[in-house]
Structure formats: structure tokens, C-alpha cells
């Protein structure tokens, strides 16, 4: 009798061990736990917006099937709803996406609450220190990696070569001070006598572009010490940037103080010029209202001479005689640090298929896929592959401006700051403020409590 029990127990124990072993993630995959046992299984990847072209999506689907015999389902989400969707779905193990893209500024908020799987063990395999470090930091908590960079974008300056030349400036500024002076000069000169013409069109609430002046002078919106974040708008270095911004709002930009970071490109296009109108007749609206704008790199698709394509759709043809680009210069010989656009990617902590999800990540960080990203104008996460972006002026400007780019503070409460539009409000008041230091302190007091998670 005892023997039977002993045998039974032994069998039970053995099965339990085997079962436990099985549940930790399938067959092969080496030390990182990535699994290739996907037969009959489906995992879901959420991509945000339509930035990732169809060609790349098809590649991911076919490559994933090749490697795991499983199915990859890609669902597209919208930027404006992604936070809501992630908030409701990530904690739900029955409905969570296995892998998801998110904005780089959204990553700290979610990683800090444990929404993502710890993938520190995959870090070096996926690219390690070659990955864009500021994005890696946005996905790191307590030294552990939870999300990694997916792709980066950047912002640079688009200008009207013809207008600049007419205003007497024939060479591109090489320092930030020179740039500030140039745009003020052009606004004053207004060679085409257009009403409300801006030397640089900088929207009052456009902090994503305006922040470059803060960064360029060594300042920041907030900094961390001993795990606690404080807003640093009144820091002396930030103040230098704020003063420069004020000068621009007052002298170079005629943008409304509630204009945000969107569609700046329409202001350097000519498309609404009414034929026959004289340049000196102010009552005839002419679309060209700025000599310079600062915008994310992809804006170049919407800038150029207007034309109509064979299918009746509008086309924009870039004309190197009229338009040009350059990265915003800093005062130290390097490009000014600008706000880096782009996304991170991570595995949901509640995913039921972490092994397969890790395999997907390996495919995404493979040289093939990284190169494909670059070829399609999306800055790859791995710096080894940035050459795939190409060598045209846009790629050059993108790479140069991104070199030095910075992210918003990786504070846990950053999502609150963005949701409350407090930065937009602050920037909108810079132009007319009579006491910048007091304004900065006032907003420091508003922002600091929001930064640290509750």
C-alpha cells in the first residue's frame, strides 16, 4: 500500500515538475526565453498611426510565421486614443495586445506602473548600447528595461531660400544666436510686404519646437534628484532660452499665441497666391506667411510647389531653388538638441505568449527590419543602421538633428503634464510676459506636483 502511494506521489511530483517546466515558455529560444513554438497560436501587435508602412507589416507577418509557424495579427490604433486603449486593455490578460507600440513620451508613465514585461535579458541581444539611449532611458525603471526604441523622428528647420535671399541673408546660420538674429531681421525686412509675415513661424502653444531653445542653452523642463522630480523652468540656463524665445515671439513670429504644433508647413507654401495680385495689396490673402518654420521631418512631403497629379490629387514638388532644410544650430558647433519624435515598443506584462512576443521583438530589431525602417524614412533604433535612411538632404538633416535630440523628462507623472496642457499654456504666455522669472516660478509650482507619481 505504501509503495503504491509512494509511486503515485513520485509520479505526481514528476508530472508537476514537467508541467511547470512546460509552462515557462516552450521549446527552444536560448537564454532569453524567446519561443519559436507558435503552431496554432496567434499573437497581437498594436501599431499606432499609419507610420509603419504596409510593406513592413507584411514582412513582420510573414517572417513571424516562418520562424514560429504562428500567426501575427497587427491592429492599428490612433494616436489620440492610444493612452485610453492601453489603460483599459493592458491590465486585462484576456484582451491585452502581446506587443505594442507607444509614443516615447508615454512610455515612462506605463513602465512605471508595471504595464510591461521586463526584457532586460534581451537588451544586449536586441542591440544594447547601439540603441538610441534617450529612448532606452524612457523605458527603463530601476535599471531594468521594459520598453525599447522602435523608431525615431526629429525636427529641423525648413526655410524659403528665395525669401531669405531677398532679405539679404545668403548663408545658413551656423549658431543659434545667428539664427535668432536672422529670423528677426527677415521679419522686419519683410521683402514681399506680406501682412503678418513671420521670419520664423512659431506657434504660441508649440512647446515641442520651442523647447529646442531651452535645450540648446543647457536647460530643461524638469530634472530628477534622488528619485524626485522638480520642474526647472526658472533655472538660469532655462531662462536664457526663455528670453530668446520671448525675443522670437515679439520680433520674428506673428503666429497666434494659441497656435499648436501642427501643419506648420502650410505657411511656407505658396499655394494660395492669387494670380495678378500685387505684392503690396494687403487685402488679398496670400498663403506664404513665413520665411521659416520648424517641423517634424515628415513635413517635407507637404512642402513644395503645388501641382495636380494624374489622378487629380494634389502633389507637392520640392524645389531646391525655393526651399531648403537645415538642423537648428546650437551655440557649441553641434546641432541644437531638439525634441525627438518617435515610438517605443514593449511586451505587455499580462501577455499570455511572452515567448512568442520575444521572438517578434527579435525580428523587429533584426538588421533587415531596421534597414527597412530607415529606407522608409523612419529612424531605426539601432545606430548601426541609420545609414539606411539615405543621403538626401532630409535624411542628413534628420540624422544630424537627431544626434543630439532629447526627450521630455521621463517622470512617472509626465502624462498628466501633457494631458493638462500646462506647458502649452506656459509657452503661450512667454511672448507677452513682463516678468519671465516670475512666470517661470509660477509654472514650476504647477508642474512639480504633477511630475511625481502618487
Amino acid at each position: 500500500m505504501k509503495r503504491k502511494i509512494a509511486v503515485a506521489t513520485a509520479v505526481a511530483l514528476a508530472s508537476a515538475l514537467v508541467l511547470a517546466g512546460c509552462s515557462t515558455g516552450g521549446s527552444t529560444g536560448g537564454s532569453t526565453g524567446a519561443s519559436t513554438d507558435g503552431k496554432g497560436k496567434t499573437i497581437t501587435l498594436w501599431l499606432v498611426g499609419s507610420d509603419t508602412p504596409d510593406k513592413l507589416r507584411s514582412y513582420l507577418i510573414s517572417e513571424f510565421h516562418k520562424e514560429t509557424k504562428g500567426t501575427l495579427k497587427i491592429e492599428q490604433q490612433d494616436w489620440s486614443d492610444i493612452v485610453t486603449k492601453l489603460t483599459t486593455t493592458l491590465p486585462d490578460k484576456n484582451n491585452t495586445p502581446d506587443v505594442t507600440e507607444m509614443g516615447n513620451t508615454q512610455s515612462p508613465t506605463f513602465t512605471n506602473v508595471g504595464a510591461f514585461l521586463d526584457i532586460s535579458d534581451m537588451y544586449s541581444e536586441l542591440g544594447g548600447s547601439k540603441l538610441l539611449q534617450s529612448f532606452v532611458d524612457a523605458g527603463k525603471v530601476n535599471g531594468k528595461n521594459y520598453t525599447l526604441p522602435y523608431y525615431f523622428g526629429s525636427r529641423y528647420v525648413f526655410y524659403r531660400k528665395d525669401v531669405w535671399a531677398k532679405a539679404g541673408i545668403t548663408s545658413v546660420p551656423t549658431t543659434l544666436d545667428e539664427f535668432n538674429k536672422d529670423v528677426a531681421t527677415i521679419a522686419a525686412a519683410n521683402p514681399d510686404k506680406i501682412s503678418n509675415f513671420s521670419g520664423l513661424y512659431l506657434g504660441g502653444q508649440d512647446w515641442r519646437d520651442g523647447i529646442s531653445w531651452i535645450f540648446a542653452n543647457g536647460g530643461n523642463i524638469a530634472s530628477e534628484k534622488n528619485g524626485k522630480w522638480t520642474a526647472t523652468l526658472d533655472d538660469p540656463k532655462t531662462m536664457v532660452g526663455l528670453k530668446q524665445l520671448q525675443a522670437i515671439y515679439q520680433n520674428a513670429s506673428k503666429a497666434p499665441n494659441d497656435a499648436k504644433d501642427s501643419n506648420q508647413y502650410i505657411y511656407v507654401n505658396d499655394d494660395d497666391a492669387i494670380p495678378g495680385a500685387t505684392a503690396s495689396d494687403p487685402s488679398t490673402p496670400v498663403s506664404l506667411s513665413a520665411a521659416t518654420i520648424m517641423a517634424p521631418g515628415w513635413a517635407h512631403w507637404s512642402i513644395g510647389t503645388k501641382g495636380t497629379g494624374a489622378d487629380g490629387k494634389v502633389t507637392r514638388t520640392w524645389d531646391d531653388n525655393i526651399f531648403g532644410v537645415f538642423p537648428l544650430p546650437g551655440n557649441d558647433g553641434k546641432p541644437a538638441p531638439v525634441f525627438a519624435g518617435g515610438s517605443n515598443i514593449g511586451i505587455s506584462a499580462k501577455s499570455k505568449n511572452p515567448g512568442l512576443a520575444k521572438t517578434l521583438l527579435k525580428i523587429i530589431f533584426s538588421k533587415t527590419y531596421q534597414t527597412m525602417l530607415g529606407q522608409n524614412g523612419l529612424g531605426p533604433a539601432n545606430s548601426d543602421d541609420t545609414s539606411s535612411l539615405g543621403t538626401d538632404e532630409f535624411a542628413t538633416a534628420l540624422i544630424q538633428s537627431a544626434e543630439n535630440s532629447k526627450l521630455t523628462p521621463a517622470a512617472p507623472g509626465w502624462a498628466s503634464v501633457e494631458a493638462s496642457n500646462v506647458l502649452e499654456e506656459f509657452f503661450s504666455k512667454i511672448g507677452t510676459s513682463t516678468d519671465l522669472a516670475a512666470l517661470a516660478k509660477e509654472y514650476d509650482a504647477k508642474i512639480t506636483p504633477m511630475l511625481n507619481s502618487k
Binding site: T87, L90, T109, V113, G114, N196, D258, A415, S416, K454
Partner: protein
């Protein structure tokens, strides 16, 4: 004929009428199922410190009335409340006025004109809010808007006028849009109510010498009073909670904190900052506020029922 419902005083037989309860069961069941849980959740959450961390599994500390106290002492909340009340009253009043006039108009015009009017109102009502907002923000766009173009063509100085920058003009635009969207419902409802007013009674009164105004106030209004009251109450409730239109306008321009109404403020706290504890507290607060506002209606309705 009075508007008060005369109770069926047919003597009840022995059965302690189960009929009304039976009739209510379907509605009660569906409401309890689908609204019960969210309502209770919201009440409980408003008493907790509930942020994104709690959504992802952290326990939610019970803080009692802390959220409410913080709100009550926050001047910004009261600013938003004040703005919302003002917006609500102005918009609801104008909507009711125009809606009632249009309903009367629909009764007074020949069938062809009435159908045209009804169809255009319906089209306005049926237009998806997102699409309608796109068109409206476009119409008022400071650079390419038709409104500026028309006003400039008439000689007024509205070249590139930015309608959304100034909070007051922002709310004027918002009000116009909400009124445009709400009038059809009011007009249709009151029109439907007007069809219950018997034509012959009106004609008889007219032949007896009653003026249009007398006929309206003495005959029509008492009959349609229940409909008017409900519609007015609903307008007040909905205009107090207006969200989509304000949010989409804010996305186009304006300084958000200067143009927040209660709906967008709750959204900003919840979906934006993930501060669900405070968002829930504000929601409960708005609920109580709305109940208080409709107090007059509730009391008169209860009195009427008791009669």
C-alpha cells in the same frame, strides 16, 4: 381637458396589481446590469486614491472624502463650474426658444415647406458630431474660414480673425454649434407634442375670437407642457455635460485651461492624467449639481403626481 393625468380610479379588484412591476422589470434589469456596476464603481473610486498604478494592480488606498475636500477648495473647479452653468443656461434657453418657434412654424406652414424644414433639421441632427465639428471649425478657421471670408466681403474687419483665441468668443462659437445641433431634437419633440393638440378645438377657439397668443398659452401650452418640461430639463442636463464639441474645438485652438467645461475637465483628469479618483469625485459632484438644478422640476413633478 387638463394636462394632469387623471388616475384610473376604477376600483381595484383584489389583486394587488402586479402589472406595473411586471412592466418595469425589463427596464430595471437592463439598467441595473449595465449602469449599476459603473455607478457603484464610480462612487467607490471617488473615495479612493485611484491612479494608473491602481488600474494596473496596486491596491487603492481609501481616502474617504479627501478627493471631495480637495476639489471643494480648488478655485479652478469653481471657475469651471461657473463657466459650465453660464454656458448651459444661455445655450439651453436659446435652444428652447428657437426650437419651440420652429415647431410652431412647422405646424403653420404647408406640408411641402414643413417636409423641407424637417429634412434639413434632421440632416443637421443626423450629421456625425465629428464631421459636424470638422465643418464648423473649418467654417470658423482663422485663415481659410468661410465666416471670415464672408464678413470681410461685407466690409467688416475680420481678416484672419481668430475666433478661438479669446475664451468669450470661443464659447460664443461653441454655443452656436451646440444650438445648431440641439434645436432639431427640441423642434421635433415639441412638434410631436403639438400633433396631440386637437385642431378642431383650436379652430373653435379662433372662431370664438381668441387671438393666436391666447390660443397658444391657454390651449396648446397646457397640453404640451409635459413635453416642454422634459425637453427643457434634458437640454439643461446635456448642455451642462457637453463634452465632444468643446474638446474638438480645444483641439483646434484656444488655451485649454481657459476654456475647460466640466465634461472636458473630467476627461482631462481621467483619460488624460489617469487620475480616476479625482475624475470620479468630479463626476459625482456634477451629478449632485445636476440634481440640485433640476430640483424645481422634480418637486413640481412629484406634486403633480400626488394630485
Amino acid at each position: 381637458m387638463t394636462a394632469a393625468t387623471t388616475r384610473l380610479t376604477v376600483p381595484r379588484r383584489r389583486r394587488r396589481s402586479f402589472a406595473p412591476y411586471a412592466l418595469l422589470i425589463p427596464s430595471v434589469v437592463v439598467m441595473v446590469l449595465a449602469m449599476g456596476y459603473p455607478l457603484v464603481w464610480q462612487l467607490i473610486t471617488s473615495l479612493q486614491q485611484f491612479g494608473l498604478a491602481q488600474q494596473f494592480g496596486q491596491p487603492a488606498p481609501f481616502v474617504g472624502l479627501d478627493n471631495y475636500i480637495r476639489l471643494a477648495t480648488d478655485p479652478y473647479l469653481w471657475t469651471v463650474v461657473g463657466r459650465s452653468l453660464l454656458f448651459c443656461f444661455v445655450t439651453a434657453a436659446v435652444t428652447m426658444l428657437i426650437g419651440t418657434l420652429l415647431a410652431l412654424l412647422m405646424r403653420a406652414v404647408p406640408a411641402a415647406v414643413r417636409i423641407i424644414l424637417q429634412i434639413t433639421l434632421l440632416l443637421a441632427w443626423a450629421m456625425p458630431v465629428v464631421a459636424a465639428m470638422t465643418v464648423w471649425t473649418w467654417l470658423f478657421d482663422w485663415r481659410r474660414g468661410v465666416v471670415n471670408w464672408l464678413l470681410t466681403a461685407m466690409g467688416l474687419p475680420f481678416q484672419q480673425h481668430n475666433w478661438l483665441q479669446n475664451p468669450l468668443s470661443f464659447f460664443a462659437v461653441a454655443s452656436i454649434i451646440v444650438i445648431w445641433m440641439s434645436v432639431p431634437f427640441v423642434a421635433f419633440s415639441i412638434f410631436a407634442g403639438l400633433t396631440q393638440v386637437p385642431e378642431d378645438v383650436l379652430e373653435a377657439a379662433e372662431m370664438d375670437g381668441a387671438t393666436a397668443s391666447q390660443r397658444f398659452w391657454r390651449i396648446t401650452v397646457p397640453i404640451i407642457r409635459p413635453v416642454i418640461s422634459i425637453v427643457l430639463l434634458l437640454q439643461v442636463i446635456w448642455d451642462l455635460r457637453v463634452f465632444t464639441q468643446i474638446k474638438l474645438l480645444q483641439d483646434s485652438g484656444s488655451i485649454a485651461s481657459e476654456t475647460n467645461l466640466l465634461g472636458t475637465y473630467i476627461y482631462q483628469l481621467g483619460a488624460g492624467s489617469s487620475d480616476f479618483g479625482t475624475a470620479s469625485a468630479v463626476s459625482i459632484f456634477v451629478l449632485i449639481l445636476t440634481i440640485a438644478l433640476s430640483g424645481f422640476y422634480i418637486r413640481s413633478m412629484l406634486k403633480e403626481d400626488a394630485a
